[in-house]
Symmetry: C2
C-alpha cells in the first residue's frame, strides 16, 4: 500500500520580500503550510483563515493533491516540521520548530534530532511504499543553500512565474558569508548542511527517506528542485538505495532549472507528469499553465500515482469540485 506524506514547515528565510509566491501577501504566507495540510486532510479549511493563493491568484497545489486523493481515495499523513501556526489537521510532530533565516549562521538548530526522529518515522510507517511531498514557503531558496554547501548544482525552480534567481543567489551568498562556509564546504556532511543552510522540512524528508529505504520500503519524492536537494542530502549520508522522484511538466519545462540533470546527478529515477491543464479553461488550472506555482504539496507525486491507473484528465472535474468548495468558504 502507498502512504502519502506531506511535510509542512516554515522558516524566517521565507519572509524575505519577493522570495516566494506561497501566499497572497507575506503576512498571509505564515498560514500556508497549515492551510495546505487542512485542505489535503479534510478537503477544505478547518482552523486556517485563508485559502493560499499566489500574489497572481494561483490557488495552492494542495487543491490538485486533494483532488487526486478524492479520485483515488488514498490516505495521507501530515508531518509537522515546524509550521509557523498550529494546524487543525492531525500531524506527526518533529522536534524542530520553525527554521531561522539562512542569512544568519544557523538555519535549523535542531537538525540532528529532527533527522534522527525522521529516520525512525520513515522506518516505522508500516506501508511498503511512501510518497513524500512538502509545503514550506521559501523552500527553493533553502534548497539552493543546501545544494551549494554540498557542492552540487543549485539551479532551483520557483513558485513565481518569474523566478527571482538573483535574489535567491544573493540570499544564499549572504548565508555562506555569515556561516563562513565555501560552496562545497559541507560535502558529505548533510545534517550540518541542513543545520547551516537548510530548513526543517529538508531535514525531515531526507531523514524519512533514509529510514524508509534502509527498511526496504520504496520512496518517491514528490516535487521539483526542493526534492532534488532532499535526494542529494540522502546521497551525502552515504545511502545508495533506489529513490524515485515525481514532478510536473511545469517544473520540467522551467528553463531556469535542470530537473532531469539534477535527478541524474543524484541517481534518482525521475517521472514527469503532464496534468493536461491546457485542456481546461478553469482558473485553478490556467494559472499553472501560465507558470504559477508549478509544484508543491505533493502535486507531482499525486499526478504520477493517478497516472498509474487512470487518465490524468479524469481528475479535472475533481479539481473543479475542490476549488469551488474552497472558494465558497467564507473568510473567518
Amino acid at each position: 500500500m502507498v502512504q502519502f506524506i506531506i511535510t509542512i514547515g516554515s522558516t524566517e528565510t521565507a519572509k524575505i520580500d519577493g522570495i516566494s509566491a506561497a501566499g497572497a501577501t507575506p503576512a498571509l504566507m505564515v498560514h500556508t503550510p497549515r492551510a495546505d495540510a487542512e485542505i489535503v486532510t479534510y478537503g477544505s479549511l478547518a482552523g486556517a483563515p485563508v485559502v493560499p493563493v499566489s500574489p497572481a491568484g494561483c490557488p495552492t497545489p494542495a487543491v490538485i493533491t486533494r483532488a487526486v486523493k478524492e479520485r483515488l481515495r488514498f490516505e495521507t499523513v501530515i508531518v509537522d516540521a515546524g509550521a509557523a501556526k498550529e494546524s487543525d489537521a492531525p500531524a506527526v510532530s518533529m522536534p524542530s520548530g520553525p527554521g531561522e533565516d539562512i542569512r544568519g549562521s544557523v538555519a535549523v538548530p535542531r537538525a540532528q534530532p529532527v533527522f534522527e526522529r525522521s529516520k525512525e518515522l520513515g522506518a516505522a510507517i508500516p506501508d511498503d511504499e511512501l510518497f513524500i511531498g512538502e509545503t514550506i514557503p521559501g523552500g527553493t531558496t533553502t534548497a539552493m543553500g543546501v545544494l551549494a554547501v554540498l557542492g552540487e548544482e543549485s539551479t532551483v525552480s520557483s513558485s513565481l512565474a518569474d523566478n527571482p534567481v538573483s535574489l535567491k543567489r544573493d540570499t544564499v551568498r549572504s548565508g555562506l558569508d555569515a556561516s563562513g562556509i565555501e560552496p562545497g564546504g559541507l560535502s558529505g556532511r548533510p545534517v550540518e548542511a541542513v543545520r547551516r543552510m537548510g530548513d526543517p522540512v529538508l531535514a525531515t524528508v531526507s531523514g524519512m527517506t533514509v529510514g524508509a529505504t534502509q527498511a526496504g520500503k520504496s520512496v518517491t519524492l514528490c516535487g521539483g528542485t526542493q526534492m532534488s536537494a532532499a535526494a542529494q542530502l540522502v546521497r551525502h549520508t552515504g545511502c545508495n538505495e533506489a529513490i524515485s522522484q515525481a514532478t510536473t511538466t511545469f517544473v520540467a519545462n522551467d528553463e531556469t532549472t535542470g530537473i532531469q540533470r539534477m535527478a541524474d546527478a543524484a541517481s534518482v529515477d525521475l517521472t514527469v507528469t503532464d496534468p493536461c491543464f491546457n485542456e481546461k479553461d478553469h482558473p485553478a488550472m490556467q494559472a499553472f499553465v501560465r507558470g504559477e506555482a508549478k509544484e508543491g504539496v505533493g502535486m507531482g507525486g499525486a499526478l504520477a500515482l493517478l497516472n498509474r491507473s487512470h487518465d490524468v484528465s479524469s481528475v479535472h472535474t475533481y479539481i473543479e469540485d475542490v476549488y469551488e468548495r474552497l472558494i465558497a468558504e467564507k473568510p473567518r
Copy 2:
C-alpha cells in the same frame, strides 16, 4: 460526510493495580493509546512496541474499528489529549499532558485550556457529522469520578469481564476526600469537575461536542459509560443540542451499568449494535463474547456506522484480516 475521531490519553489513575484491562500488564498499558491510534490509522503498528491485549488475551477494540474502517473506507482523525508515549500516528495535539491520579486534589491541571481548544477544534473540523471515540486506560474510573461530582448516576462499565466496582468506588471516594468535594458538589461546573476528578480525554470529548453541536454539526459519542460522562459534562455546560451515542450490546448487557438509563438522564439518543460475534469461533471475537473489553476506540460507533449501509456480519472477515496482520507482526 462523517469524520471519525479517536481521542487518546493517559492518566496516573490507570496505574492503580487491577483497575483496567487496557493492556496485558500495567507496564505495557502505557503504550495502549498510541498503539490503538497506529492500528486505527495504519492498520498495523508503526512505532508502538506491542499490540494491546487484555490480561485475558482479548485484542484491543481498535481491531474492530480498523476493520470497519477498511470495510467502509472512512477517514479518521486522532486527537492526542496527553497520551503517555509519543505516537507515530498523526494527531491534533491538545495542550493537556497526561492526567494525574484522581486520588490527589487535581486530576487535569489544564482542563480549562483543553476544553476551550477542543471547542474550537469541534467547530473547525469541516465535516457535518462527527463520530467521537476514545482510548484511555482507566477511563471508566475517571468517568465515575466526574459523574459523582456532577451528582449524576455513576454506574460505570469495565474492560474486565469482572467489573472491579468496589475498587473504582474506593478510588473515587479517596479522590473526593482529597479534593474536599461532596458528591454533586460540582453540579453545573463541568470544567471544574474534570479538573478535579476527570481525565484529559473527557475534557476533549466534551469540549469538541459542545463546539461541534453549537456549530450545527451532528455528534455521535462512540462508547459506553465514559461517553455517558462526556454527555453529562456537555449538559452541565448548559448545552442542550441533540447528541447521539453508539455502543455495543456488550456494554448494554452489562448488568453492573445502566447505559440506557444514563443516556435518558443526559437526553442522549442511544444506539446499541450487536456485532454478532457469537456467529464466529475466532479469538478476536470470542473474547468479546466472554465479556472482555466490551467497547473502546470507537468500536460501538464504527459498528453503528457500518449498520447504516451493511449487514454487520460483513465485517467479520475484515476483523480476521486485521487480527492476522497484527499477530503476524514481530515484537520490536
